[in-house]
Amino acid sequence: MDKKKLKELKLKANTLRQDVIKMLLAAGAGHTGGPLGMADVFANLYFNAAQHDAKNPHWDGRDRIVLSNGHICAILYASLAESGYLPKEELATFRKIDSRLQGHPARMDLPGVETSAGSLGQGIGVAVGMAMAAKLDGKEHTVFALMGDGELNEGSCWEAFLNAHKFKLDNLLVMVDRNDIQIDGYGHDVLPLEPLADKFKAFGFDVFQADGNDMGQVVSTTEKALKSKNGRPRVILWKTVMGKGVDFMQNLPKWHGIPPNAEQAAEALKQLQAERADIEAEN
């Protein structure tokens, strides 16, 4: 990818991070760490790698972007708004009564939300079902399934992986936010998953791993995974820093499920604006 396009994507990710902070402050509730950590991956999906059309959310040829760890929906909503699925002003209604932006994504409420999610280990099954339908109909689009690594504790995920392999779903691309954090602490303390790449290999996936906060790697690894069409489902394990972009939020379990207060939001935006200036200054 050329430097100019890469810079644009980094700026998009920065926009999404700022939108996430503003949205959570306005809501006074919600999950901060995950959305910040996954901003780079989402920016690449929505503004580069995935085929979709904000003016035609139900376009049958679109790539499906299925968020299974629904609690990080702030980054989904920010991505949809920045793409033009909804006006950016609407982000301020997040989690409020009568809002289309529910605390966990609601398929019936907002175009662009492929499935309702919140209870973990389900969206992945829905995504696999969608990939099965696409295979049956000979359709060419990709089904992206975004998951958390804590989510992988849920056994139903592995039921889905077994079947993804059985049905040769090489149109499925699972992306795991490998931040090693969940509510009760670090993943390796709560319920160790390693060796995770080996587990996916054993389940018959083509496995890719990269730094999910390095846009160059995000772009190239996504591209590489999409090209891998060998009759096997694909998974990218994104090593990310939860809370990426705001130093006092980074890598701390407490930032899984709380919003910033006014003071914290102001400091966060200050840091993100400084980061933006740095990106702008790149040549």
């Binding site: 209870s119 969608m130 049956l136």
Partner: protein, 327 residues
């Protein structure tokens, strides 16, 4: 008997006995031929749930997912959201309790057009015993928003129910048993989801039954007439949701007393559906025949029905009690 419903003329002699799940398997195949959107999934129970014929005819539209019921429900939702009409099949206990949260979030909250068709419901599952004898499923499914719940009384009604739920757009639950049960209806008997059938007109008491209990209810009504000079109405409430409260109220007004009969726990099922409507709109004495808040056990279907009080005799007893309570 209500002649306009064209019921089985051999109903009280030796009615043919057929399994509701056989009706399901045949109807699913017929449906699959008519509508290419129809797909089926099973979780390692294809033979028992009678999907083998569909699998043979449409191998690429049939998905064996192994013993992964939670995944099966989620995948069915995914298929439905992509425009398919999926029938997810397994036993009643695995297809409700085990996967409840998946039905709730991925099917009902998504309003995904998933048909959950289960067999082996109730005590008549028999020898496999309590772990498999699902007696709480009607209640569980009834309380879910956007869910349609149908419990057909015989093989022919089941076939019609399959076509009806396929035509209906929205989450659906079709409850069938394992055993062969008497044919009550004929091909000509009308079936409309949400519209109960008054099988036998009466005026002293009304028996609201579903599924396996419809036949004993009819036999009980005959006995009430002959032995007790009591005129009993019998209504087949095949649809638990949407529930035909209009027919229930009409029957309650006419007869002044209701007895419910179901192969289910005594709470949350048909008895609850009737009680909810009657207490609000037209309170009348309400007696019930159901499993008395207990798990089942191993046995033959007949021995179990007897031991757990799901019998014609108990329907008669409760009908007499209901009549006695009338003011």
């Amino acid at each position: 008997m209500n002649a306009s419903l064209t019921l089985n003329p051999l109903l009280f002699e030796k009615p043919e006995k057929k399994a509701t799940r056989d009706g399901f398997g045949e109807a699913l195949l017929e449906l699959g031929k008519k509508d290419e959107r129809v797909v089926a999934l099973t979780a390692d129970l294809g033979e028992s749930v009678r999907t083998a014929a569909f699998e043979k005819a449409f191998p690429n539209r049939f998905f064996e997912v192994g013993i992964t019921e939670q995944f099966m429900i989620a995948a069915a939702a995914g298929l439905a959201l992509e425009g398919k009409v999926p029938f997810a099949t397994t036993f009643a206990n695995f297809g409700t309790g085990r996967v409840y949260d998946f039905i709730r979030q991925s099917v009902c909250y998504n309003q995904a057009n998933v048909k959950i068709a289960v067999t082996h419901a109730g005590i008549t599952l028999g020898e496999d015993g309590a772990t498999h004898q699902m007696l709480e499923d009607l209640g569980m499914m009834r309380t879910l928003p956007h869910m349609t719940v149908v419990c057909p009384c015989d093989y022919l009604e089941t076939k019609k129910a399959v076509f009806a739920i396929a035509e209906h757009v929205g989450p659906s639950y079709l409850r069938m048993g394992r055993a062969n049960v008497p044919l009550i209806t004929t091909d000509a008997t009308p079936f409309r989801m949400g519209h109960a059938n008054v099988l036998r007109e009466g005026k002293d008491v009304s028996i609201a039954a579903c599924g396996v209990m419809v036949y004993p209810a009819l036999v009980a009504a005959k006995e009430l007439e002959k032995e007790h000079k009591i005129s009993a109405e019998v209504v087949n409430h095949h649809s638990l949701k949407p529930f035909d409260s209009e027919t229930l109220i009409k029957s309650a007004k006419k007869c002044g007393a209701i007895v419910t009969a179901e192969e289910h726990q005594r709470t949350s099922g048909l008895r609850a559906a009737c009680a909810e409507v009657l207490t609000e709109q037209y309170p009348v004495p309400l007696q019930y025949v159901a499993v008395e808040d207990t798990f089942g056990e191993s046995g033959t279907p007949d021995a179990l029905l007897q031991k757990y009080g799901l019998t014609k005799d108990n329907v008669v007893k409760k009908a007499l009690a209901a009549v006695k309570m009338k003011k």
